[in-house]
């Protein structure tokens, strides 16, 4: 799960990590009020779940509350396009108004889980080359990024903070503050079940202070059940409405750009079905895992979600019946197709338990199903229907 910058900064503040004073605003008037409270120069920053906002025109300096008002008016409501939003961009509904800082140097600091074999621990990454181009640094000069793994049982040790601060070239006063920052970040990461905590830039200001100027925090979805306070930070406006509907129906759905809609049981088989559609010369419209024990109701919900995407021109159903019997799936398909008055052509590929009964039910239903046997054959048939 992702959260906004202003929410992430609140969390950091709660863990004693220095962040600029600031306030979120939903209207230009609120932005002006926030700037008045802060006094002096401010920065108005678009709040969307994507990086690269500065380059996309979503961050503006403001010398006065009046300028903050105008900056917010320009940013709020815009479709902000960055390298992470896709070409359609994301609508800005909130801005963060915060005190402007004069930056002497931009550092990078992050925490992630190293899932590779034999490691399985949390790892710090730090670089003196922080700022907007850290992704480029990672690919062209990876030696400029220092890693520091934290043993899960031993925990964070002071020498590790010293190692990181040496790599960052900090002075003695900054080192003390930095040691506290990394200790608290590690605590935050564990206590809140984070999957990523990134401070970029971790600024050294003109007067030599360390300050988290921008931050990104992601959470492990599987840990959310024990953090209602984190769950409450979720912003459904940032998610695709179809994906929200799917989540509520316990269906795993991700919208893609193609026109062959697919409904599959199991995540691995769902990805494979997408791959097969592309191999057959088409493009998948979505990833959809209807779940292992899908009922007729579940299948109907899944159908409603995937046919709500106007790009979908044909549906490919690919089910491997195990515990979930094919005749049950067929009954669900027939019921769903009738209930939602399905007009789109559909290819159904069933395999597994009670497959013969399932196929027969489809053929006798009077509905327009194209039945396929093989995995690849099913994809080819579906693609030929949209060609």
């Amino acid at each position: 799960m992702k959260i906004h910058e202003f929410q992430a900064k609140e969390l950091l503040r709660g863990y004693g990590i220095p962040v600029p004073c600031g306030k979120a605003a939903s209207t230009p008037d609120e932005a002006r009020e926030a700037a008045e409270e802060l006094r002096g120069k401010t920065v108005v920053k678009a709040q969307i779940h994507a990086g690269g906002r500065g380059k996309g025109g979503g961050v503006k300096p403001a010398a006065s509350p009046e300028e903050a008002f105008h900056a917010a008016r320009a940013i709020l409501g815009m479709q902000l396009v960055t390298h992470q939003t896709g070409p359609e961009g994301k609508q800005v509904r909130k801005v963060l108004v915060e005190e402007a800082s004069v930056v002497r140097k931009e550092l990078y600091l992050s925490l992630v889980v190293d899932r590779s074999r034999g490691k399985e621990c949390v790892v710090f990454m730090a670089s003196a080359a922080g700022g907007m181009d850290i992704e480029q640094v990672a690919s062209t000069a990876p030696e400029k990024i220092v890693r520091c793994t934290i043993h899960p049982v031993v925990g964070m040790s002071p020498f590790q903070a010293r190692k990181l601060s040496a790599a960052l070239g900090l002075d003695s006063e900054q080192r003390k503050v930095f040691a506290e920052i990394v200790r608290n970040l590690y605590r935050l990461f564990l206590e809140k079940d984070c999957s990523l905590v990134e401070i970029n830039p971790l600024a050294i200001t003109e007067d030599g202070r360390l300050l988290a100027l921008d931050t990104k925090i992601n959470f492990d979805d599987d840990g959310l059940y024990r953090h209602p306070e984190v769950k409450a930070l979720r912003d459904p406006d940032e998610e695709d409405p179809l994906e929200v509907a799917a989540k509520n129906a316990s269906v795993n759905y991700i919208k893609l750009d193609g026109n062959v809609g697919c409904m599959v049981n199991g995540a691995g088989l769902a990805m494979t079905t997408m791959d097969l559609i592309q191999m057959a010369g088409g493009e998948p419209a979505n990833f959809l895992d209807v779940g292992g024990g899908a009922s007729a109701e579940q299948i109907e919900k899944a159908f409603r979600i995937l046919t709500s995407d106007p790009n979908v021109k044909c549906i490919l159903v690919n089910i491997f019946g195990g515990i979930l019997r094919c005749d049950r799936v067929s009954a669900g398909l027939i019921q769903a197709a009738k209930n939602i008055d399905l007009k789109l052509p559909m290819v159904v590929r069933l395999q597994g338990t009670n497959v013969e009964e399932g196929r027969q039910m489809l053929q006798e239903s009077g509905l327009r199903f194209t039945v396929a046997d093989g995995l690849y054959e099913a994809a080819e048939k579906a693609v030929s229907l949209v060609a």
């Binding site: 992470q84 889980v113 899932r115 590779s116 074999r117 399985e120 621990c121 949390v122 992704e135 990672a138 690919s139 899960p152 049982v153 564990l190 079940d193 999957s195 492990d220 979805d221 599987d222 840990g223 059940y225 024990r226 795993n252 991700i254 893609l256 599959v264 049981n265 199991g266 995540a267 691995g268 088989l269 769902a270 990805m271 494979t272 997408m274 791959d275 097969l276 559609i277 592309q278 191999m279 998948p284 990833f287 895992d289 292992g292 491997f320 019946g321 195990g322 515990i323 395999q351 597994g352 338990t353 093989g374 995995l375 690849y376 054959e377």
Partner: protein, 291 residues
Amino acid sequence: MAILLDEKSRVLIQGITGSEGSFHTRESVKLGTRVVAGVTPGKGGTELDGIPVYDRIGEAVEREQANVSGIYTPAAFTPDAIFEAIEAGIGLIVCMTEGIPVAEMIRVKQALKGSGTRMIGPNCPGITTPGVGKVGFMPNFIHKKGNVGVISRSGTLTYEMIWQLTSLGIGQSTSIGIGGDPIVGSGFIDVLALYENDPQTEAIVMIGEIGGTAEEEAAEFIRGSVTKPVVSFIAGRTAPPGRRMGHAGAIISGGRGTAGEKFLALERAGVLVEKNPAEIGRRVQEILQAK
């Protein structure tokens, strides 16, 4: 011989009285699995179809000599269930539970180190040795006893692959789903090493997917330590970056973990990479016929 689950296995089921646990216990008994006990705290003294239920694993080990544990407990209680199994000296844990936080799996990995317990999963379909039985969800009808070892990160896709083999008359020594989470008890390498040393296994089918570097690490291992032929497929070539594709571990992040990278690494290691998953069975058939 087969691997991990064999004639000596005496299975206990943690969470046997739950709806999932009881259903899959009965299915596995139908396949011939020797289920000797169940454990559900607070339900000790009851039974399921004549299988005695205990409060603690220690009792089940002492009275029934259980040495394999299948876990179906809810995610919030599962780390504790795993720690209890490790402490009781269970040799093999097979954990089907989905939704365990990564932070908990980091602790589990520490507990497993040096313990003598091996773990498959979590978030996995389990393990089946045709002729012996199964622990987990895999449908009973797909299997056939034979010489191909199957290992995979997914569920239904694994059934699909096993069924392809069986439909061509090709049997399996053992089939294992290692699970779709970012951190799992046993990875490809652990299981590949077992297949390599198993006299019954003549060829290996390895099914990977996007996310992490387990397939790349496996490729390195295969190059140096696996002499048996390996046929492989990676799911998720069309998956967009930054999105979790159903499985918690199936995510391309920071440009790493793509299917392309994995295919390439495996190809370089001499693995027979098949990009059309409908052809996996036939590739295996060709290999076995050429032997």
